[in-house]
Symmetry: C2
């Protein structure tokens, strides 16, 4: 593993102090009696839906952009590609440092996310809905305009930013046994695992993914078994449809997270999202239905000595113009 690519403990702490310096909130940890009763464990919901821009992505985006501006104060602007939340977070972060921003989005991105990006004054470039097309366009823009690229996950500062969740969590709930994390490219779980496992080597970090991800096979073999070119999964959760994890994040995951992966069918994810609205009174997006769905429907797969479990609620940017996912099922 190339240590330069992975943030150190110090870099994650510096990221936390970056975020604190601009009043990024420490998100609350909520508990719920029904959830504890149903699962027979103590469940701690780390509510990144209450984070700035409505998802954890602001942590990585802000840390990366603040760091980039420190090193090169005359940066011309920023460009990124995103399934939505990362684009919103980068647009917001760029507006804070008063730099132009371009977000490359797949042409099937939900309207609520496009509106949020525009609200921060960023320019939007739409592209075909395939894993590689947006990256190519992003590279072209970066070259032509001399803009700084803010990757969605494969970047040391992005991973350090997401790791600040664990900095807060380990202080909020010191006796955690496990953390359940939705995984797409792997930036979130890498940041959390890098920090949490160094503070407490006994803690277990579990990935929660849609069907078809092949993550467990890859982790068990310690190899990228995914077919190329990269594909999108057949899932309702657009935020987690990358089949492959990142070139930086996958080795971190191999070193620090459990080989056992929670694979969540779409129906379970949607039911868990509804459960959050109905019983937890939280607006969450489908990606959060992966970790919540794992604990609701597969908690019996966890060792009985795992009592205190954090479930990462990644964000709450669900489209409220249209019917909700379970309403559309009718």
């Amino acid at each position: 593993m190339n240590e330069k690519l992975n943030p150190s403990l110090a870099e994650i702490h510096i990221a936390a102090s970056h975020l604190r310096s601009i009043s990024v909130p420490i998100t609350p940890v909520l508990t719920n009696a029904i959830l504890n009763k149903l699962t027979g464990r103590n469940i701690y919901l780390k509510c990144e839906n209450f984070q700035l821009t409505g998802s954890f992505k602001s942590r990585g985006a802000l840390n990366t952009i603040l760091n980039a501006m420190k090193i090169e104060p005359n940066l011309k602007g920023f460009v990124t590609y995103s399934s939505g939340n990362h684009g919103i977070a980068v647009a917001h972060a760029a507006s804070l440092v008063q730099r132009p921003c371009i977000v490359v989005l797949c042409n099937d991105t939900p309207k609520n996310k496009i509106d949020a990006i525009k609200q921060y004054g960023a320019e939007i470039v739409l592209c075909e809905s395939t894993p590689l097309s947006h990256i190519a366009i992003c590279l072209d823009i970066a070259k032509e305009r001399e803009y700084y690229i803010v990757p969605a996950s494969d970047h040391c500062d992005v991973i350090a930013g997401q790791g600040t969740i664990a900095v807060e969590l380990m202080e909020q709930i010191p006796d955690l046994d496990a953390i359940l994390v939705p995984v797409s490219d792997g930036g979130l779980i890498s940041g959390i695992a890098l920090y949490a496992k160094r503070i407490n080597p006994n803690i277990r970090i579990y990935a929660c993914v849609p069907e078809g991800k092949m993550l467990e096979e890859c982790l068990v073999e310690g190899k990228r078994l995914w077919p190329d070119p990269p594909q999108f999964l057949e899932t309702e959760c657009k935020a987690c449809r990358s089949q492959q994890c990142g070139m930086i994040t996958f080795p971190i995951m191999c070193s620090f997270i459990e080989k056992q992966v929670f694979t969540i069918p779409d129906k379970v994810m949607i039911d868990a999202t509804r459960f959050a609205f109905e019983h937890l009174k939280l607006v969450i997006e489908l990606a959060s239905g992966l970790s919540l769905g794992a604990i609701l429907s597969q908690h019996n797969k966890l060792d009985t000595n795992i009592h205190n479990i954090a479930v990462i609620i990644t964000g709450g940017n669900i489209d409220l113009n249209d019917r909700l996912p379970w309403q559309q099922e009718k």
Copy 2:
């Protein structure tokens, strides 16, 4: 004012200790950067949507039923009438003390609330949708079965139970200048005002009501100016459609709350409810859109020296089977 009808400070503290003894949660107070920016104040959301049974009503119902059982351990059962949330709360509380329960409901009560009541094993009796019909039926049942009546608001123990919100709030945010409270019969605001004004006579307690409530006129005159027989208001918010306040609660309100009332059109209430889903990531019900709508759309009516404002989020039992209120508008 008949002091026997109003809970004392001690009775509200005893209610708080009743609730603590059975692990009723202290609900969190949340803040949100967008909300603070929009209103130019520090807004503290007291999240009763996270309370047991999804609304503040569990406080009053549990305190009343625990007190009643202490005095008469052989009570045969409980009966109540309700717009929904109080019925759920009484059904839940009765199930905890293992007594049968009957809830009299108007025949237009939303399905989600009926389902919740049934889930706690209570019997449901439907009646015509007028303010007096359910009270008459409730009295008949109480007489016939020798059941204890748990009124929705006009009862010392119910008011003391709701007052426990203020016990928590004054500890959570010691330097509050004002509290904004949705008002129907007045049990919630009476409990909060009785406690908060005795602890800090300078704090201001404001009522937030639907159009047609006539509450400001009544408070200014100190008289019940409402037409008889009691009427329902024309509002989408079924939980707050009583025009009249209670015989016990109205005198408390005259003594302790501000004469200035926030009157909230339905459109503002629905927009505020949507704002909560979209920006606060909270599932709230329309009644909470009254207090949130007041601070979002009428904050300029508050004195400029009022900085720290608690907004009571009464509950989150909105019907998620159907389209949400703003979706139905199309």
